[in-house]
């Protein structure tokens, strides 16, 4: 009980304090808060399937203030705390950064609520709390066309949330259900189920994002401040994947099974779209943003595979574990890639690959960092991306070899994308050393920590995967089986 309350209240209190202290103290405070939440998440992963809160909230709606989770939720809580800290540590202080830090604190609190929710209304409230500050972050501290990016983000998010909320209401009011609490919901059937599943998939697909609801992402990522890009990619995208696994697959496995083939095709289209579009990008941030769409496409494929093979089959376990690990791995590696891309942009005054051609070989280690992280992101053994993608690919091959071939093609195109970026950054005739600012110690520390985390998960994926084998599908078991 107290652990969950602390995990939610610490960022809230931090966000309330941050605006009134100096920027430097606010930054330190928020990083500390992130680390505390991360530690609680890890503790929850180890011991926390018994931690829960369950009190009546809105009895008339059958909604309970019910929080508590399995390995999936707690690992994402750990990711949220850790990536918030890493994002803030890896960038310099900005104007009014104490307010910025407060906004990140609010987002963190919302994320913790979502990942631990055992009630659809609680989930929804957390979802909104997590998303709203990002509008201000982009609009207030972004670059270039930030107002437009923020507004686009806001509109897409609104429509996604609306579809999702309608789906929630449908689930809670459906025949057999008697409220919003997870254990009060039974899967509807027939045409109602189709509408509800449509709403849920639409809502989560906007956040994931899946083609064709993804157009906001490259814009938001390029215009957001670097720390905003990191949190957006590492954490807010996870809302989509988490919702797909926990809510869509968790409450509507039979409905999803009926359309599993289409979900797999959807995921493949998304993965290929992201990979191919990334191939043509010269802006580093935009390239990484499209690669995110590609990586999240695999999650959608995995959800389809799990639905197709029946939620209790071995294949489904592999697919879900792969998708969950992909969420974590993408959070760590892509966050780090954004940190590096942002730092490159700040030092060289451009993030354009053509202008950067060959310039990163000497003078700074940032190019090498990008290379290592990109190799991890394209899935070399030893880092976490590999452990995630191999599980998704194997599970897919067992359901449909043709789908697996397409997933493999998407992975190969992603390989080409990152290989191209690495070669453009590091290869070419030597130039004179450019006078550049120092490599900040905090950024280096954050990158090392993220790389170590990714390597730990890559070398010993069982740290998480063993726990992921017990992910509750249906999610109602989260409440009934403590």
């Amino acid at each position: 009980l107290i652990e969950i309350v602390v995990a939610i209240l610490v960022p809230v209190v931090g966000a309330a304090i941050a605006p009134f202290v100096s920027p430097r103290s606010a930054r330190r405070l928020t990083i500390l808060i992130g680390l505390v939440v991360a530690a609680l998440g890890v503790a929850g992963l180890v011991a926390g399937s018994g931690w829960s809160i369950d009190v009546a909230w809105i009895p008339s709606l059958g909604s309970r203030l019910s929080l508590g989770s399995d390995a999936l939720g707690w690992s994402l809580v750990a990711l949220s705390g850790g990536m918030t800290a890493a994002a803030l540590a890896s960038v310099p202080l900005r104007e009014r950064s104490e307010v910025l830090d407060a906004l990140f604190g609010v987002t963190l609190a919302g994320l913790v609520v979502v990942f631990l929710a055992r009630d659809l209304l609680v989930f929804y409230v957390g979802f909104e709390i997590a998303l709203v500050p990002m509008y201000f972050i982009i609009a207030g501290w972004g670059e270039g066309d930030r107002t437009r990016a923020a507004l686009t983000f806001f509109l897409y998010t609104r429509f996604g949330s609306l579809a999702m909320l309608l789906g929630f209401v449908g689930l809670a009011l459906g025949p057999g259900s008697h409220g919003f609490a997870f254990n009060a919901i039974t899967e509807p059937t027939g045409i109602v189920a189709a509408w509800i599943a449509g709403g849920l998939l639409l809502g989560f697909a906007v956040k994931l994002p899946a083609v064709p609801m993804h157009a906001w992402l490259p814009l938001a990522h390029t215009e957001a401040p670097t720390e905003g890009s990191i949190v957006l990619a590492s954490l807010l995208l996870k809302l989509g994947g988490f919702g797909l696994i926990r809510i869509a697959l968790g409450f509507m496995p039979h409905t999803l099974a009926a359309i599993a083939g289409w979900i797999i095709v959807w995921g493949i289209v998304s993965a290929l779209w992201g990979a191919i579009a990334a191939y043509g990008q010269n802006d580093l941030k935009r390239l990484v943003a499209y690669s995110s769409i590609n990586h999240m496409g695999y999650v959608l494929v995995a959800v389809g595979v799990a639905a197709a093979s029946g939620p209790r089959s071995v294949t489904a376990h592999i697919a879900i574990a792969g998708a969950a690990l992909q969420l974590i791995s993408h959070g760590v590696l892509t966050g780090a890639l954004f940190a590096v891309s942002g730092a490159i942009g700040e030092r060289y005054g451009t993030r354009d690959l053509v202008q950067l051609r060959g310039r990163l070989r000497r003078g700074t280690k940032l190019g090498w960092w990008f290379a290592v992280l990109a190799l991890g992101s394209l899935g070399i053994p030893g880092l976490s991306g590999f452990a995630a993608e191999i599980q998704i690919l194997v599970a897919t091959a067992q359901v449909s070899p043709v789908a697996a071939v397409f997933v493999a093609i998407a992975i190969v195109v992603t390989t080409g994308v990152f290989a191209r970026a690495i070669v453009m950054l590091l290869f070419g005739p030597a130039r004179r050393n450019e006078a550049l600012g120092p490599f900040p110690a905090a950024l280096r520390l954050a990158l090392v920590a993220l790389l170590v985390a990714s390597a730990a998960l890559g070398l010993a994926p069982r740290l998480l995967v063993d726990g992921f084998a017990t992910i509750r599908v249906p999610a109602a078991e989260l409440v009934t089986q403590r």
Partner: protein, 573 residues
Amino acid sequence: MWAAIILAATAALIAALRPRRRSAVCAVLVSLGAAIWVTWSPLPEPSYAWLPALHLVLAGRNDETARLAATVVATIAAVVAVFALGDPETNDGAPRFFATYALFVGAMLAFVSASSIVFAYVCWEIMGVASFVLIGHDMADAAAGASARRALTATRLGDLSVLIGAALFAAGSLEAGASFVVVGAAVKSAQLGASPWLVGAMVAPTPVSALLHSATLVAAGPYLVARFIAFPNVPVVAAALLAYAAITALISAIFAATSDDAKRTLAWSSIEQLAQAFVAAAVGMPRLALAVLAGHAIAKPALFFAAGMQRVATGTSRYATASRAARRIPSLVSAIVYGAIALVGIPPFLSSWALAGTWTAAGRVQSILLFAGVALASLGGWYVTRFGLLLLPSDARRFETRRIGVGSSIAVWLMIAVGASTSLTYVRVAIDPVSIALPLAAIAGAAACFALRHTALVRCAPLIPNGIDDWDAAFRRTMGTLAGFLDALDRGVLGVTDRLGATIVASGRTADRIDRAIDRATTSGGRRVAADGTRAGSLVAGNPSLYLGISGGIFVAAGLAALVIVAVRKAVI
């Protein structure tokens, strides 16, 4: 497995300490010696359950095949490391080169002893990334980067095909699984249709070509299928592979015979030799396949050494740039002579009985294949002779020898010693028509080439233009166009939200204007109220910290209230 761990530790050590080149080579040699020792020692194999759900357990199966293969790999790697010591191409960035080199060899040693296809796949991925770094060693050369990128992408396609095959095997579909594994292995071994990545990778430093593109990386394809696929159980796949490999061998031998570049000749020759190993595997003779690979592994590096020395001396590996003086370098001449004889299967070298056995077995399946074997032998004799003649021409002018390090020469002699001792250890004397016909055909091919050395037939233009290196140009163009199209589409879609946003803002302004008008009209003191409202609004807008402070306070209050509620509930219940 222990051998792989030793090499990986060496790689980490070199990367951390960044020693001079000589020390790095010493470290590699010592660890390779240790690797051979632990391979033959009765140490229990370590085992690590990486992803048990996928049966991905890192465990070795250190049977005799694996031990022999590991010994060959480690020995060749040691000889090539000695060569690298004298090769100026590895001078810059030596720590990076040798750390990656050790990592690569470690992955290869793990590969040969891998106990499952999935584990072998993992090792293959690591080898692929290591080869990306090694091929792109000369980072000042943008062409090296492009070749490295192509090699990584192409081999990754092969890797993933193998992984899908392994997954299908696990799911119980034998034929489909075998097909995917065979396709993946063929791509990794640069068989016909996937050859250009290997030919393009010849920009790599010579040690990389000598190790990766003859004895190890590309040889892993036949090794994998020979070790893990029981072809008698999948006759359709076996027949398809047999036909494909035979055709690949013939065509690549012809390309080797017409190339205008020493290293490219050797690349096509590697493809041909690997295809013969695939033939042996496809006819159900896995041990012969391994013998073909071993015979190739002890011969081809010597030829690569020769081509590398020529490239160092003249700056290009194109033929007809060297000179008469090259004949005065004993190690260069010896490398060519030894490599040529050992490669084409003249007794007593390993290739002779391996190739004879392969084509005998293939002839039993389909007698026409015997002719393919004879044709390949004579083509082989032709192109190695041509290689030697063009590399040591009698009509050119200048040859600088000073840049070739002594390590390179030592490596040649070591290579010859290794080849000779291996062949003498495993020598088989067989008196059957094929065993006699193949060497005779090779000698006939060599004699024909020598006799026609001044004709256009020997000095012909390459059948495969060197522009093939940029084989993925069309692919990249398509991707670029497609990417531009998708990007434009994504940007265009945003027009909808832009319009929507503008509409919302505009309607908000209108509503605000209407409200103010109503306010002014209905309230007598409306003017003052409106002014106050504006002031409060601007206060919040101009001071986000105040706004956030208020919001934060509300959050804290809510949180505290929740706590109180929880506590009260607890107390009541």
